[in-house]
Symmetry: C2
Subunit: 250 residues, 2 copies
């Protein structure tokens, strides 16, 4: 963290994502939630600082949750809140917080909007198991709610449902000063500008400068991304980058 | 871990992935490596057990590396081995292992296949910085090598280069008994079969049964995936699942 960031730490809000699911680790399902949540949080001024993917194993979920919730402002989990035996996220969250878990009348009411009494069997009633003290997160798509307890937000793994839940949760979150960014396509090879770019990064400690090589139709190229919460410092650093790029092209 | 898995633990090989990169956490770049490596490892008989994504911060990389390498047979990292100031993975790996790092003549020779002496500037020479004691991983695409030190395999973040490196590394890895799997599309809603599926899971402790709902053209449906290293036990459990599905459809 730069000196500038430290001085404005009161306005920095951090988050972690915990993806829960054997199917992601086996490769059977390709995660689509991490990138979506990353974009969403960046846009509202929350820094995604870490992501973990763990299997459907209670002790693994509990350990990861307790490590992450102690360290970041918010933790968002995806996966493991359905009606089957392998859906163990709610119980793991209760264990992590040391609270009881039982059928929540509010959650049962939500499920009853979709399912008849005959359909509300033991399996579906699993989706109404909510840790004590949690607040529900409405699910506009399939009714079974997510919940949040303390700074942990528990959401579905199915992307469409997760996205609907994030739309409910987003406006309630504390947000910090937005990270601003500007990108320039250098038209140069990364290795040709590594030296001067490092000098600029050193001269502008309050900004973060990233360099991302790619192949374009005309050959190797590089995107340079400058990021800062301070608009003036961002502009100054980007001006230096642009001047360097113009000079290297001559 | 089931009793059966514990008894054959000598044949279980585990792995973790450590993705290093601010650009993944900001959402700017969408990771394409996790799913690819997951598929690859599953196919050769290595269990991907955990994934972490951390920022371009030395202490974060070191802490994650040391946690993961102590726990799993292999750790695969992606990202942060290019020529610019934000490429700090090699130095972080050296720090994690407590070894020195310097320009490696073998790596310099590889870079010299692609770059002229004039092109081999200080920035590009960063890509020849290799921790002491590491073995190089050839890079068929852009020459700059990855490396492995102990059980940690350091690969590029660019998917095409990472995949080429994994093709080099794969055949050298110790592999375990392959996890076998079989899938049935139930044609039923997940909540309708949660009860009997839980009973089957309990009666077949040596297999792992996953349930994955999805929406098809004809409405809600469920894929049931049965996984085990033991072919006979897999067959027995899948037979029970199929009988249950047939019975529920009547």
């Amino acid at each position: 963290m730069s000196a500038n960031e430290a001085s404005s730490s009161a306005t920095i809000v951090t988050a972690a994502i915990l993806v829960i699911g054997d199917e992601i680790l086996s490769g059977r399902t390709k995660d689509k939630n991490i990138g979506y949540i990353a974009d969403y949080l960046t846009a509202i001024g929350i820094d995604l600082s870490e992501v973990r993917i763990v299997p459907d194993v209670t002790e693994e979920i509990v350990a990861a949750l307790n490590a992450l919730r102690a360290r970041y402002t918010y933790v968002f989990t995806t996966g493991g809140i359905g009606p089957t035996h392998d859906d163990i996220t709610a119980d793991a969250v209760a264990a992590a917080f040391g609270v009881t878990i039982d059928h929540d009348p509010r959650a049962v009411a939500m499920l009853s909007e979709r399912f008849s009494p005959a359909e509300l069997n033991e399996a579906r009633m699993r989706m109404a198991r909510i840790p004590a003290g949690a607040e529900l997160i409405a699910n506009a798509i399939s009714k079974a709610p997510g919940f949040h307890l303390g700074n942990v937000y528990v959401m579905a793994g199915v992307p469409a449902i997760m996205q609907a839940m994030l739309d409910v949760v987003g406006p309630t979150l504390r947000t910090g000063r937005k990270m601003l960014s500007d990108t320039i396509r250098a038209g140069l090879r990364e290795g040709d500008i590594g030296g001067p770019l490092a000098a600029i990064a050193q001269a502008h400690p309050a900004v973060s400068i990233g360099s991302y090589p790619f192949w374009s139709d005309t050959g190797p190229d590089t995107n340079i991304v400058v990021r800062s919460r301070d608009a003036e410092k961002l502009t100054a650093a980007m001006a230096a980058v642009k001047a360097m790029v113009a000079s290297e092209k001559q």
